[in-house]
C-alpha cells in the first residue's frame, strides 16, 4: 500500500466493487455449483472444521477409555476402530482439506490472480470429499465394523477387516483423487496466473510452501493409491502382493506406505511453515529474516522427505547399512528445519512486537513444534528407536508436531485471515482465552505421554498396567479440556462470521504486507479482475 500503483489498483477495485460482486443467488447455485475460489475455500474450511470435531470426538472416546486401567467403556476392537478412524479423519479430513481451503482463499489473492486456474476442477475436488468421508464413516455402522488395523493399514492385519474394507479403500482412492486435483490446480495457478512483477522469488512464503506441498502430493498420493489397491486385490481377488504364504512380502507394503507416509507428514506441516512465516513478520513489524534460505530450506526438507521413509520401520529387521543410511538422512532433516526455526527467531529479534491472537498461536507453534522436532531427532537415532518405537513416546512426538504444530498454525491462520475473509473482527478477548487454554491443555494432554512411552507403555492399547495410571489420567484430563476448548473456537468463528459488529479495515493488521491486504475486507466476490502491479514494498519480504 505504499506505492501509487497499488493505490490506483485499490481505487479500481473500489470502483469495480459492484461489478465484481455478482454472487449466484440460491443455495445450490452458490455452494454446490460454485467455481469461485473464495466459496470453495470456505467449503473446504467448514468441511475441515466438521471433520476436526468428529475426529476429536473419537479422540475423546480414546482418552476416556484410557482414563484409568481396566476396560470400562468400549471393547478392544472398537477402541482400535477409534484410533484408526481418528487418524484417518484428522489427517485426510481435517488437516489436509484445511490447508487446501486456505490455499483456495489465499493463493489467488496473494499472487494477484482473479481465481484458481481450473475453477470447475476446483469444485469437483472439493465435492468428492463429503462423499469420501461419508463412505469412510459409514463403515463404523457396518456389520464387520470399521477398519481397526491403524491408519497405516499394515497387512496382514488389515486384511482381517471384513467386507467394509472395500469401502475404506474406495474412500482413500477418492481422497487421493481430490488431493491430486487440488494440487494440479494450485500448481497451475501459481505458474500461470501470477500478476506482472510477482516473480517466483517474490512470492509470499505461504505460496511457496504450498507450491512445494502440491508437488509432494502429486508425487505420493498415487503411491498410496497403488498400495491400497494391492490391499484390495489381496483381500478380495486372491492376489498375494503382501501375503508371505503366496510369495508376497508384508514388509514391502510398509516401504510403499511410508514412501507415501513420510512426505505426507511434510504435506501437513509445510503450509504451516508458510503461515508462520507470514504472521511473525506482520506482528514483529519487521521483514521475514532470510527469505531466500527459507525457500531453499523448504525445498530441501521436501527433497529429504523422500529418502527417509524407513525410519518408521527401524524394527522390521533391515540390513545394518540401510539402518545407517536412513538414520543419517533423517538426522539431516534437522538442519533445514533448524534454519527455519532460527530464522523465525531472528525475524522476531529487534522487532516491535504485539501479541494479537494470530501472533500468540504462531509463537506457540514455534515453541511446541520445536519440542516435537527435537523429539523427532531423538527418534532418528536407530538404536535408541529400538526402545522408542511404537510407544507413547512416538505418540507424543507426532502429536506435538501435528497438534500444537499443524493445528496451531491452522488456528493462527484462521485468526489472521478470518477478518479478511468475513470483513469482521473476531473477539480478541475470546481469541486469547482460546489460545491460552489450548496452549496449556495441549501440553497437559501430550507431554506426559513422553514419560509413558519412555517408561514402557506401547501405543494402540486399550488397557494398561497400573504403573501407567497417573500420567494417563493427567493426559486424559488435558485431552477433555483441550477438546472442550475447541468448542470456544467454533463459537469465535461463528461470532466473527455472523454476529461481530466490528468491521475490519482492508489492512486488518498494522504491520500486514502483501497483495491480499490491498483488497477490501471482505474482498469482492471476484477480485483482481485486472492484475495489480507488484512492487516489492507491498510484499511481506524485503529484497
Amino acid at each position: 500500500m505504499t506505492t501509487e500503483a497499488i493505490h490506483e489498483d485499490l481505487n479500481e477495485a473500489h470502483d469495480d466493487h459492484d461489478h465484481g460482486d455478482h454472487k449466484p443467488t440460491g443455495f445450490l447455485d452458490r455452494w454446490l455449483f460454485t467455481t469461485n475460489h473464495k466459496d470453495i475455500g470456505t467449503l473446504y474450511l467448514v468441511f475441515s472444521l466438521t471433520m476436526f470435531m468428529i475426529g476429536g470426538a473419537m479422540a475423546m472416546i480414546i482418552r476416556a477409555e484410557l482414563f484409568m486401567p481396566g476396560l470400562q467403556l468400549v471393547e478392544p476392537d472398537f477402541f482400535n476402530q477409534m484410533t484408526t478412524m481418528h487418524a484417518l479423519i484428522m489427517v485426510f479430513g481435517a488437516v489436509m482439506p484445511a490447508w487446501v481451503g486456505f490455499a483456495n482463499w489465499l493463493v489467488p489473492m496473494m499472487i494477484g490472480a482473479p481465481d484458481m486456474a481450473l475453477p470447475r476442477m476446483n469444485n469437483w475436488s472439493f465435492w468428492i470429499l463429503p462423499f469420501a468421508f461419508t463412505m469412510l464413516l459409514s463403515t463404523l455402522f457396518m456389520d464387520s465394523g470399521g477398519p481397526a488395523a491403524g491408519w497405516t493399514l499394515y497387512p496382514p492385519l488389515v486384511l482381517q477387516t471384513g467386507s467394509s474394507f472395500a469401502f475404506v479403500v474406495f474412500a482413500v482412492h477418492m481422497m487421493g483423487v481430490s488431493s491430486i486435483m487440488g494440487s494440479i490446480n494450485i500448481i497451475a495457478t501459481i505458474f500461470n496466473m501470477r500478476a506482472p512483477g510477482m516473480r517466483l522469488l517474490r512470492m509470499p512464503m505461504f505460496v511457496w510452501t504450498w507450491l512445494i506441498t502440491a508437488f509432494l502430493l502429486i508425487a505420493v498420493m498415487p503411491v498410496l493409491a497403488g498400495a491400497v489397491t494391492m490391499l484390495l486385490t489381496d483381500h478380495f481377488f486372491s492376489t498375494n502382493f503382501f501375503n508371505a504364504a503366496g510369495g508376497g512380502d508384508p514388509v514391502m507394503f510398509q516401504h510403499i506406505f511410508w514412501f507415501f507416509g513420510h512426505p505426507e507428514v511434510y504435506i501437513m506441516i509445510l503450509p504451516a511453515f508458510g503461515v508462520v512465516s507470514e504472521i511473525l513478520p506482520t506482528f514483529s513489524r519487521k521483514p521475514l529474516f532470510g527469505y531466500g534460505s527459507m525457500v531453499y530450506a523448504t525445498a530441501t526438507i521436501a527433497f529429504l522427505s523422500f529418502i527417509v521413509w524407513a525410519h518408521h520401520m527401524f524394527t522390521v529387521g533391515m540390513p545394518l547399512q540401510a539402518e545407517l543410511f536412513f538414520m543419517y538422512a533423517t538426522m539431516l532433516i534437522s538442519v533445514p528445519t533448524g534454519v527455519k526455526v532460527f530464522n523465525w527467531v531472528a525475524t522476531m529479534w529487534q522487532g516491535s512486537m504485539t501479541f494479537e491472537t494470530p501472533m500468540l498461536f504462531a509463537i506457540g507453534f514455534v515453541v511446541l513444534f520445536t519440542i516435537g522436532g527435537l523429539s523427532g531427532l531423538m527418534l532418528a537415532i536407530t538404536a535408541a528407536d529400538f526402545q522408542y518405537h511404537d510407544t507413547y513416546f512416538v505418540v507424543a512426538h507426532f502429536h506435538y508436531v501435528l497438534v500444537p504444530g499443524a493445528v496451531f498454525a491452522l488456528m493462527a491462520a484462521t485468526y489472521y485471515w478470518l477478518p479478511k475473509f468475513t470483513g469482521n473482527m473476531y473477539s480478541e478477548k475470546w481469541g486469547k482465552i482460546h489460545f491460552w487454554s489450548s496452549a496449556i491443555f495441549v501440553n497437559v494432554l501430550f507431554f506426559p505421554q513422553h514419560y509413558l512411552g519412555l517408561a514402557g507403555m506401547p501405543r494402540r492399547i486399550p488397557d494398561y498396567s497400573p504403573q501407567f495410571a497417573d500420567f494417563n489420567m493427567i493426559s486424559s484430563i488435558g485431552g477433555f479440556a483441550f477438546g472442550a476448548t475447541q468448542l470456544i473456537f467454533v463459537g469465535i468463528v461463528w461470532h466473527c462470521a455472523f454476529r461481530s459488529k466490528v468491521r475490519a479495515t482492508p489492512e486488518v493488521w498494522e504491520g500486514s504486507r502483501g497483495l491480499e491486504w490491498t483488497l477490501d475486507s471482505p474482498p469482492a466476490y471476484h477480485s483482481f479482475n485486472t492484475p495489480p502491479e507488484v512492487t516489492c514494498n507491498a510484499l511481506s519480504r524485503a529484497d
Partner: protein, 282 residues
C-alpha cells in the same frame, strides 16, 4: 535498549527457561512414577539408555538456547515498551553459522549412534538359540538347542480382570496385564540368539529391560540377541498392533543363574511328554 539491560533480561529468561525445563523433565519423577527409559540389564539396553540421554541433553541444551533468545526478544522487543523495529532482513554470516553448527552437532551424535547400532546388529558367537513365534494373541518359544517348546499367554487372573466391566480392579491383580502362564526362562551371562517370526499378522517382541524390540513378521525370520547380566524377572508387551487383543499378549522373561537354568532345562525335559500334550491341547 541498553546492552546491559539485554543481558540482564536474557539471564532472567534463561533462569526461567531452565526452571521450566526442570519442571517438565525432572519434577515429574518426584511423584514416584517412572518417567525415563530403563537402563535395563544388558549391554544393549545400557547403550541405548546412554544414547538416549546424550541426545536428550543435546536437545535440551539446543531448546534452552533457542527459547532463551526467543523469549528475551518477546520481553524486550515489544511495541508496548516503545521498541522500534529494526530493518535487517538477512545475514549470510549468521545463516551459515546456524547451518554449520547443527551439522557438527549431528556428526557428534552420529558417532555413538553408529557404534551402538553396529554392536546391536552383531549376533555372531551366540551360545544358544530361541525361536520366538508371535500369533494372535500368544507367543510360542522354542529352545532349538534344548528341544523345549511351549506357548506363553496372558495369565488367567489378568485375563479375567481385563474383560469389559469385569468388576475386578486392575490394582488388585498382581502384575496386571504383564503376567503370563509360561514365562520365557533364560540364563544370565550367555549370548542368546533369537529367531523371531510370526504365524498370522505382524507382532513385535519387546522387553524394555533387554533394550530393544524386533518385529515378528510372517514369512520372515528376524534375528536379534541378548546377553542378560542380572538374574530377575523382566516384563514386556507386544509392540505392534496385531488385532483386538494386541494389548493382552505380554512377555515375561525370567533370567536365572547358569546352574539354575540348567536344572530348569532338565526339569522341563523330564516333564516333556506332559508339556507336549499341553501344547497339543492348546
Amino acid at each position: 535498549m541498553k546492552k546491559e539491560n539485554t543481558i540482564i533480561v536474557a539471564l532472567a529468561v534463561l533462569a526461567a527457561v531452565i526452571a521450566a525445563t526442570w519442571l517438565i523433565l525432572v519434577a515429574p519423577a518426584l511423584t514416584g512414577n517412572e518417567i525415563n527409559m530403563t537402563k535395563g540389564v544388558t549391554q544393549q539396553s545400557a547403550d541405548h539408555f546412554d544414547l538416549h540421554m546424550i541426545v536428550l541433553w543435546i536437545c535440551v541444551v539446543i531448546g534452552i538456547a533457542v527459547f532463551t533468545v526467543m523469549f528475551t526478544s518477546i520481553v524486550l522487543h515489544r511495541k508496548s515498551r516503545g521498541h522500534k523495529a529494526a530493518k535487517f532482513s538477512h545475514s549470510t554470516k549468521a545463516e551459515i553459522i546456524w547451518t554449520i553448527i547443527p551439522v557438527l552437532i549431528l556428526v557428534v551424535m552420529a558417532v555413538p549412534a553408529t557404534t551402538a547400532l553396529v554392536r546391536m546388529e552383531d549376533s555372531s558367537g551366540a551360545e544358544m538359540t530361541v525361536k520366538i513365534t508371535g500369533f494372535q494373541w500368544r507367543w510360542k518359544y522354542e529352545y532349538l538347542d534344548q528341544d523345549i517348546s511351549f506357548i506363553s499367554s496372558l495369565d488367567s487372573s489378568s485375563n479375567a480382570a481385563r474383560q469389559l466391566n469385569s468388576g475386578v480392579t486392575p490394582e488388585s491383580v498382581d502384575n496386571y496385564l504383564l503376567d503370563v502362564d509360561h514365562p520365557l526362562v533364560l540364563p544370565v551371562g550367555r549370548k542368546i540368539k533369537f529367531l523371531i517370526t510370526a504365524d498370522d499378522v505382524i507382532h513385535s517382541w519387546w522387553v524394555p529391560a533387554l533394550g530393544w524390540k524386533r518385529d515378528a513378521i510372517p514369512g520372515f525370520v528376524n534375528e536379534a540377541w541378548t546377553n542378560i547380566e542380572k538374574p530377575g524377572t523382566y516384563r514386556g508387551q507386544c509392540a505392534e498392533l496385531c488385532g483386538k487383543d494386541h494389548g493382552f499378549m505380554p512377555i515375561v522373561v525370567i533370567a536365572l543363574a547358569e546352574e539354575e537354568f540348567d536344572s530348569w532345562v532338565n526339569e522341563q525335559l523330564a516333564g516333556k511328554t506332559q508339556s507336549d500334550q499341553q501344547v497339543t491341547v492348546r
